[in-house]
């Protein structure tokens, strides 16, 4: 068979890759500013992305609730879950100042930001600190954002996987190439655009998870697989991907949303192990998980014992409240599971675990306008590497990107992409994959990718020899996978191209980790055990030139 290429090039001024919270917010704002905007989403924007089922916490600064001391706000946030050294302080500042406006707009879109009738802040908070996480009901947020985007005139193409950004000889973004998943037979679609937003999620499935045999049991939506690689291949810088971050939550049934639980972290006897609390605290939660998500793994590995979320001393009202909040957060599969298996939180504690490394908030390096080093490529959301803030970050930087793009597209002429060489290259490769009989399965290669990353570019300890071997094995894996994988339908072709995205990112993780010749945070080198003060306040970036040369650089944090 020969894969069809859609005859008409899809033309738009602003192409958004990924219709999650970042992509939809950007589309809403851009369309309101009169920009011709199109979202390409591989699933359906009503139910896709990290916020697919909902959210219950939105980190924000509302002066009438938090006071006018903005420095205090930044300092307290800087020490909580969304803090830490791996973000540009200037980005955090700009982000927080825009949050009130987003909260008000979301309310107007039909998302219930005040379920109790007023702004209420809960969770993710250490004792004696203000709460900055607005407790809201986001169960319908993706529907509301989708509706608002369409109302403003944004176009949405669902079931379209974007594989690559097209750049021209000057090195600016001029379009993209992808394919439709609507039918079993893929159809290649070429896009012509003046600006592109990469608004994909974090890379899941690069490291083994709680049960390595089941690759989709991940804490965040496993549909997200390395979209940052799209920007990287087009020349955009990635940042901070050498410093691992690990999330935590329910152990066997991996799921983000740990702060929706407000019980006490306890040992097997039901005794608190938290320095912050020994009784359930609905207002603050147990911030231990935020500042030390590795605690679960560390306690298991040292045989101190399993660590449990203990809700057994909740009041009946607490139980009902948490049950309802799971729906707002979109993690009601947890309660459905507990009901089906007859597990009663009045009597039983649930073990929590530390999860795999997932490139959450490690990725594309963006500036204060949500732009990258490549003209015409913008990025927003959890695929960015120098901002934190999860859904807050997604909505704010999507919004900022839209404003930047509205100005940028006025200055850019149309560029005809119909003869772009990447179109034929991609088509040839898809045809090879789709026509290969008795080929390897993409899953086989994804499994090996996880073994290589775990064993050689691991989370426990790293060294020159280990990473040198890992880089060699990744190259071998990529080469074998290109020559051997076969796909039967559009779905498998998508998973295969996601795999190649993951391998590209894995190589970048390995190269930057090898180049960080020190130990810092979770990057532990057995051959460089010290922390080099000369690298304080510096971020490492990696990019590829059009010739494929890898450039590693260090830059100062933007204060």
């Amino acid at each position: 068979m020969e894969i069809k290429i859609r005859k008409d090039i899809v033309k738009t001024d602003y192409l958004i890759i990924g219709g999650g919270v970042a992509g939809l917010q950007s589309a809403i704002t851009a369309a309101a500013l009169g920009v011709d905007v199109l979202i390409a989403e591989k699933a359906d924007t009503r139910r896709s992305g990290s916020g697919c089922g909902g959210n219950d916490h939105y980190m924000c600064y509302i002066p009438e609730c938090h006071g006018d001391d903005f420095q205090k706000v930044l300092s307290e946030i800087g020490e909580g879950m969304e803090g830490g050294p791996w973000q540009d302080p200037a980005m955090l500042k700009k982000m927080m100042l825009r949050t009130k406006s987003i909260v008000e707009r979301w309310e107007s879109y039909g998302i219930n930001m005040k379920p109790t009738g007023e702004y209420r802040f809960e969770g993710h908070t250490m004792p004696d600190r203000q709460c900055y996480h607005l407790k809201y009901d986001g169960h319908n947020q993706k529907m509301c954002l989708t509706k608002e985007a369409r109302k403003n005139g944004a176009k949405i193409m669902n079931k379209v996987f974007i594989n690559d950004i097209l750049t021209n000889d000057e090195g600016r973004a001029v379009g993209a190439i992808g394919f439709s998943l609507a039918e079993d037979e893929p159809e290649i679609i070429v896009f012509q655009a003046k600006a592109v937003l990469v608004a994909t999620a974090q890379a899941m499935r690069m490291y083994p998870n709680v049960n390595p045999a089941f690759i989709f049991n991940t804490h965040s939506c496993p549909a997200a697989a390395g979209g940052a690689a799209i920007a990287y291949r087009a020349g955009a810088k990635l940042v901070n991907i050498d410093v691992p971050y690990r999330h935590a939550g329910v152990k066997g049934f991996a799921r983000s949303g740990k702060a929706t639980w407000f019980g006490v972290l306890s040992d097997i006897n039901g005794d608190s192990i938290s320095p912050f609390t020994d009784k359930p605290d609905r207002k603050r939660g147990d911030a231990m998980m935020d500042i030390y998500p590795g605690i679960f793994g560390d306690r298991l590995e040292s045989a101190q014992g399993p660590t449990y979320m203990n809700c057994t001393s909740y009041t009946e009202e607490d139980h009902a409240y948490q049950h309802q909040q799971f729906q707002c957060e979109g993690i009601d599969s947890i309660t459905d599971y507990l009901d089906q298996r007859g597990i009663d939180l009045h009597k039983s504690m649930i073990e929590f675990g530390t999860y795999d490394y997932s490139l959450a908030q490690r990725g594309i390096d963006i500036d204060l306008n949500a732009g990258t080093n490549v003209p015409g490529i913008y990025a927003a959301g959890i695929c960015c590497g120098n901002v934190r803030g999860n859904i807050t970050s997604a909505s704010v930087w999507g919004d900022i990107a839209a404003e930047s793009v509205a100005e940028y597209v006025k200055t850019i002429p149309e560029y005809d992409v119909s003869k772009h060489p990447l179109i034929q290259q991609r088509a040839d490769f898809y045809n090879e994959l789709m026509n290969r009989q008795n080929g390897a399965q993409w899953l086989e290669a994804n499994s090996s990718l996880q073994v290589i990353m775990n064993d050689y570019i691991g989370l426990k300890v790293r060294s020159e020899d280990m990473m040198r071997a890992g880089i060699k094995y990744l190259a071998d894996l990529k080469s074998y996978a290109k020559k051997e994988i076969g796909c039967e339908d559009a779905h498998q072709l998508m998973r295969t191209m996601e795999l190649f995205d993951l391998i590209d990112l894995a190589e970048a993780v390995a190269i930057t980790s090898r180049n960080r010749k020190e130990s810092r945070g979770m990057h532990k080198r057995i051959d460089y055990t010290f922390t080099n003060p000369l690298l304080n306040n510096k971020f490492q970036t990696i990019r590829k030139t059009p010739d494929g040369e890898v450039i590693l650089e260090w830059r100062n944090k933007v204060k």
Partner: protein, 81 residues
């Protein structure tokens, strides 16, 4: 298979296949050209329950695989409320 579709209730409207974030459920044609929903890639299910929630006929339930078991521990008797 994680999403279990009750074929007695299902009207093959395709909603679940359209909204599934993981493309687990496909809307495929049979030999007569009629479209049916099929749980084609069950091992890629993330149990988000979008299909359960959005099914207009309440025809879908979740089966949670044993590979995803939660680890629960009863607290000692004397600590119970």
């Amino acid at each position: 298979m994680p999403p279990v579709i009750d074929k007695e209730k299902c009207v093959d409207c395709g909603t679940c296949a359209q909204i599934c974030p993981l493309d687990v459920i496909r809307y495929a044609k049979d030999e007569n050209g009629k479209k049916h929903v099929v749980v084609k890639y069950p091992y890629e299910c993330w149990h988000c329950r979008a299909c359960v929630k959005d099914c207009p006929k309440d025809a879908i339930t979740m089966r949670y695989p044993l590979s995803h078991m939660m680890f629960a521990m009863e607290i000692p008797e004397e600590k119970k409320n």
